[in-house]
């Protein structure tokens, strides 16, 4: 028997197999299983929504979907990026023993976190019922928003993972940066409160803001703006170009670094 998969098919196949194994292992010994993930999400929503709705004088039910979607998307972005920063170091053994393009191990985390995101998004019908939002035609834009977000973060993961293989301090730096970005992105606060064009302009420069919008708004039954889509696509293209360069230039050197 000889292997029948091409190199790129193999990368994707292994990333999926490993990513799914990670998901399975996370919930392996737990009696709650996937409900554990719901528990985490639900708990943060239940605590954050009343507090920040009150502070920002928002309607509680309307704010629920806003915060829930924001937290779910942000978990994906932040967990994926932080995971990626140590992806190669954690897989040192495999990297030194198996001849496979190294980006496999960066994509493994994307698969895992994408599955987690899908699981938590399955809570949304419940949120629609509670908040009284009815999904409409705009909701059909969700797959496109998700696709662009996952692509952009996958590119980011390849870049971050490569730097992480070379510098051990990077994991800590990435975690700190993601924490700051959490507060800089409208996840638990609303943009309507921002006064001034300059502030809006600065917010618009944050690519994560647009990724949030293209997933969040369809979930809330609204359509993202053309600027949101455009800048999300630009973010995917730029990160893709950099990730490709990084892959071509450094992927074969990672075995020497880890």
């Amino acid at each position: 028997m000889k292997p029948e998969l091409s190199d790129s098919a193999r990368v994707l196949n292994v990333a999926v197999v490993l990513g799914l194994r990670d998901v399975k292992n996370t919930y392996n010994r737990s009696k709650l299983g996937f409900f554990r993930l719901f528990l985490q999400t639900t708990l943060s929503i239940v605590i954050i929504v009343p507090i920040f709705a009150t502070i920002q004088e928002r309607d509680l039910r309307e704010f629920l979907g806003y915060v829930a979607s924001g937290l779910m998307i942000w978990s994906f972005i932040s967990d994926s990026t932080i995971d990626a920063s140590s992806a190669y170091i954690r897989n040192t053994r495999s990297i030194r023993q198996v001849a496979i393009p190294r980006i496999t191990f960066a994509l493994q985390g994307i698969i895992r976190n994408a599955v987690m995101l899908a699981i938590s998004l399955s809570l949304f019908p419940l949120i629609w019922i509670i908040s009284g939002t009815v999904p409409n035609w705009n909701t059909l834009l969700l797959p496109f928003g998700l696709l662009l977000t996952v692509l952009c973060i996958a590119n980011l993961a390849i870049i971050v993972a490569t730097i992480g293989a070379r510098s051990r301090d990077f994991t800590t730096i990435v975690a700190a940066v993601m924490r700051v970005l959490f507060f800089l992105s409208p996840i638990i606060w609303v943009t309507e409160r921002i006064r001034g064009d300059i502030a809006h302009f600065i917010l618009g420069l944050n690519p994560f803001y647009h990724l949030l919008q293209i997933v969040r708004l369809p979930l809330l039954g609204e359509a993202p703006t053309n600027i949101n889509w455009l800048l999300a696509v630009v973010a995917v293209l730029i990160s893709g170009a950099i990730a490709y360069r990084v892959f071509k230039k450094f992927d074969h050197k990672i075995a020497y670094w880890v």
Binding site: V17, R21, K24, N25, S94, I100, K253
Partner: protein, 246 residues
């Protein structure tokens, strides 16, 4: 036709995070590749230097050399794990490497899951792996244990799983490192049988070993490494005479 073409190949490891101060350096060592230091004292291990080898179908290469002479590094480079830093390496043919026996075995996953992960890493598709599954369970003798996490396995059972999975394919080029220390007598015979089958059907064998008996039986060409360079490459067993009496 399978072949391996290596010219002026060098592989070195720079240990950026380590600094060895001048007074700590011995200068000469009896083992390992040459170590060079940068001005700051960052060591670079010259694992392989200027290797030239041309290996054709039918070659059964015995790889000899002391500890740290570069045998495993050379095998890993041919396998595609370390990209040559200078020089070139071209191979044609499907390479099967039995360099490390249990890459990526995850203790928390079942034997079955590990089989599918490892098989995917080797490039086999899901359907290929499904077809070969029963044979692997059969060969390994693990029966019901295949559904239990590997953490419950004894070291012998781990080896059974790893070996059965590592040998699901028939490679054109087989890279063998010296790791076969099987405790289980019954399984040892099975392992030897399967290895011999695979070796016979492969076009090229590269076998790193310290045992003259094994090398003489399996190989028809002998390459001796020292400090990361090839110091002898011959089809005559005279090389063995010299190496083992030296």
């Amino acid at each position: 036709m399978s072949s391996i073409e290596i010219s002026n190949l060098s592989v070195e490891f720079t240990l950026y995070a380590h600094v060895v101060r001048r007074h700590r350096r011995q200068g000469v060592s009896n083992t390992g590749g040459k170590i060079e230091y940068s001005r700051r004292g960052v060591p670079t291990v010259k694992a392989l230097q200027n290797i030239n080898l041309s290996i054709r179908a039918g070659d059964r290469v015995g790889l000899l050399g002391g500890n740290g002479s570069g045998k495993t590094t050379l095998l890993r480079t041919i396998a595609g794990i370390y990209a040559p830093l200078s020089g070139s390496l071209t191979t044609s043919g499907y390479i099967g490497s039995l360099i490390d026996i249990d890459p990526g075995i995850d203790d928390n996953s079942t034997g079955r899951d590990n089989y599918f992960v490892r098989g995917a890493m080797l490039g086999f598709s899901r359907s290929q792996l499904n077809r070969a599954f029963d044979e692997v369970v059969d060969f390994s003798g693990l029966s019901d244990y295949i559904e239990l996490p590997v953490s419950t396995y004894s070291s012998g059972m781990r080896f059974r799983l790893a070996f059965a999975v590592a040998t699901i394919g028939q490679p054109d080029i087989l890279l063998l490192d010296e790791w076969l220390s099987v405790s289980d007598k019954e399984f040892k015979i099975q392992v030897e049988h399967r290895l011999n089958d695979i070796i016979e059907q492969s076009d090229i064998l590269i076998h790193a070993n310290h045992s003259r008996e094994i090398l003489e039986k399996a190989c028809n060409r002998y390459v001796v490494l020292d400090e990361g360079t090839v110091i002898a490459d011959s089809r005559s067993t005279d090389v063995l005479d010299e190496y083992f009496t030296h």
